[in-house]
């Protein structure tokens, strides 16, 4: 589950990180939100700056062995999700941890390691039309800066109508439009299934698909 649970160097914990190369005293948390017909997906990339890295490492590496075990990674993922709330159409939606990848403590300490988290919620089958998602991330508010953006689905089913964020981007209200099940994509699928079913039926009667096509075209 962890991307890097590399052999860590205990001594490195005591060595100050270089300043100036990357983020300093902020914990950047960039969230992406995708609503689909039957699920909500949340992705968060978390990059601790060098000044906040020791506290983040301490929160992850609970046994202080300078290495991050899969259990520690999972525990930190659940801790993050405990600070994230989402609601779909006003109903609170529980999130389950799908994936968390944590770089080595050394990389985090350098201010360049990004923790990648994915979580999913099951709001139930959503009807076509407008839906609203409320997202809020309170993880380590005292030292964090945030981003939140609505993702578009690749199949074109989801349209983002609007996204309103607070000034820190720790929360967002996102309005989506889900395409009707009778959308062109859906009709194409239904037509395909119907054709296969009909062809199968005709095959049982000894009529092959090509002949079926010729019949339909009036060619004999």
């Amino acid at each position: 589950m962890t991307r890097t649970v590399a052999t860590a160097i205990a001594l490195a914990l005591a060595i100050p990180a270089p300043a100036g190369a990357h983020r300093l005293d902020e914990y950047l948390q960039a969230a992406r939100v995708l609503l689909e017909r039957d699920r909500l997906l949340i992705e968060i990339d978390l990059t601790p700056g060098t000044s906040v890295a020791p506290a983040v490492i301490a929160a992850i590496d609970r046994d202080h062995d300078a290495a991050i075990s899969p259990a520690e990674a999972k525990a930190y993922g659940l801790e993050i999700l405990g600070d994230v709330t989402v609601a779909v159409d006003g109903r609170a939606t529980a999130l389950s941890l799908q994936r968390i990848e944590i770089p080595s403590p050394d990389e985090i300490r350098e201010g360049m390691g990004t923790i990648q988290l994915e979580a999913a919620g099951a709001p139930g089958a959503l009807a076509p039309g407008r839906h609203a998602v409320e997202f809020r991330n309170r993880h380590r508010e005292e030292s964090s800066v945030y981003l939140v953006n609505a993702l578009l689905s690749r199949d074109g089913v989801t349209t983002v109508l609007s996204q309103q964020r607070d000034s820190r981007q720790s929360s967002a209200h996102i309005e989506y439009e889900l395409a009707p099940t009778g959308s062109p994509i859906a009709w194409t699928s239904i037509a395909g299934i119907a054709f296969v079913a009909l062809a199968t039926f005709r095959r049982r009667l000894g009529v092959k698909p090509r002949a079926l096509a010729r019949e339909a075209a009036g060619v004999h």
Binding site: R3, T4, I9, L11, A12, I15, P16, A17, P18, A19, G20, A21, H22, R23, L24, D25, E26, L28, A30, R32, D45, T47, G49, E101, P103, S104, D106, E107, E110, M112, G113, T114, Q116, V145, Y146, L147, N149, A150, L151, L152, R154, V160, Q163, Q164, R165, D166, S167, R168, Q169
Partner: protein
């Protein structure tokens, strides 16, 4: 390496790059950009031994092409890879490096090549500043020798292949497909964003910054109100490691722009597209201009040039972000940018036509 020596090397690289382009153009035997790139790629590969060639020329597939990042050597990339594709400049002979840079020059415009080398040199400046302070245990390395060149797939005038050149704050990804040369996705960045060399101030991404500030300040009050997002944007939204993701457009529609504002937006976009060779860039700019009515421009941050601001350009075939990094709102010395075509990154749509 001190700055003076680095400057001399930089000047030599620029001179070489110019000579390389000119020589290739004069040759005239390969009239299109892809043919020139194939010849340059084969010439580079011919300088390598078998072991180097295996490293420099991995296959092109859905996994290898995504191995690029803003991060320096020694940090695991967003896609999980430990090291970039290809062979790094620190590991090649001067003759091999010359052939490597000639390959790069064969696909880029003169301005694009200069921009790329200015980013490389900025990282050399960073290495000189940071190296002495670096903990002995740190695997991080900046600097010119940490830039990698790779050829993904077999160089071909007809089939798809790629050239990648990248290191800290740079990921040039060129997809070649027949006569098409495509640049998306490509990452540029700079830290420091301004440095001095031989008495000259070098700002690798200075034109991007200045043209964007000129554009936002040319908008009328209503347009600006639409352009400015209501919240801070502290990093790229679709940076390295986010291939295949799409966000909703935000900001002011370019359809509301005057001719002068449209012209300014086109010139701003050209700062990225124009990295590529002139003919390929011209074709892409036509494509982008055809979609201008569906393009938006969004802004977050200060309006005074010299202070920090994020901006985003989002059209049917272009997606650009420019994001100052760091915790101080006025920080402008560390920049990340991304250039994508969300409908055709890596030429996937082109390949299915």
């Amino acid at each position: 390496m001190n700055t003076r020596i680095a400057g001399l090397i930089f000047a030599a690289i620029l001179a070489f790059g110019t000579m390389g382009i000119s020589a290739i153009q004069r040759a005239g035997a390969a009239p299109d950009a892809t043919a020139r790139a194939v010849a340059a790629a084969e010439a580079f590969l011919a300088t390598l031994d078998a072991q180097q060639r295996a490293k420099a020329n991995p296959p092109l597939n859905g996994s290898t092409r995504t191995v690029w990042s803003n991060l320096p050597t020694g940090i695991e990339m967003q896609v999980g890879a430990k090291e970039r594709n290809g062979i790094k400049l620190a590991a090649v002979t001067p003759a091999q490096e010359k052939a490597a840079l000639a390959l790069l020059a064969s696909t880029l415009s003169r301005d694009g090549y200069d921009k790329v080398m200015a980013i490389v040199e900025a990282d050399q400046v960073l290495e000189e500043r940071m190296g002495p302070k670096r903990p002995a245990t740190s695997a991080i390395r900046f600097g010119r020798g940490e830039f990698y060149l790779s050829i993904l797939g077999k160089p071909s005038p007809t089939d798809k292949w790629m050239i990648q050149f990248g290191g800290h704050h740079l990921a040039i990804n060129i997809t070649l497909l027949g006569r098409q040369n495509l640049l998306a996705p490509t990452h540029t960045g700079a830290q420091p964003a301004s440095y001095t060399m031989a008495g000259r101030t070098i700002r690798p991404l200075g034109d991007e910054n200045d043209k964007a500030f000129a554009l936002i300040n040319s908008l009328n009050e209503q347009q600006r109100k639409q352009a400015i997002l209501s919240s801070d944007v502290r990093n790229l939204v679709l940076g390295p490691g986010t291939d295949g993701k799409t966000i909703a457009p935000e900001g002011v529609p370019a359809s509301t722009f005057t001719a002068a504002q449209r012209g300014a937006l086109v010139e701003l976009i050209r700062e990225w597209v124009g990295i590529l060779g002139d003919a390929a860039a011209a074709a892409k700019m036509t494509d982008i201009q055809n979609g201008m009515d569906r393009t938006t421009f969004a802004w977050a941050g200060e309006l005074e040039n010299g202070k920090g601001a994020y901006f985003r350009i989002h059209g049917p075939t272009v997606f650009i972000e420019y994001a100052p990094q760091g915790n101080a709102p006025g920080n402008t010395d560390h920049i990340h940018t991304i250039y994508r075509d969300l409908s055709n990154d890596y030429g996937d749509r082109s390949a299915t036509r």
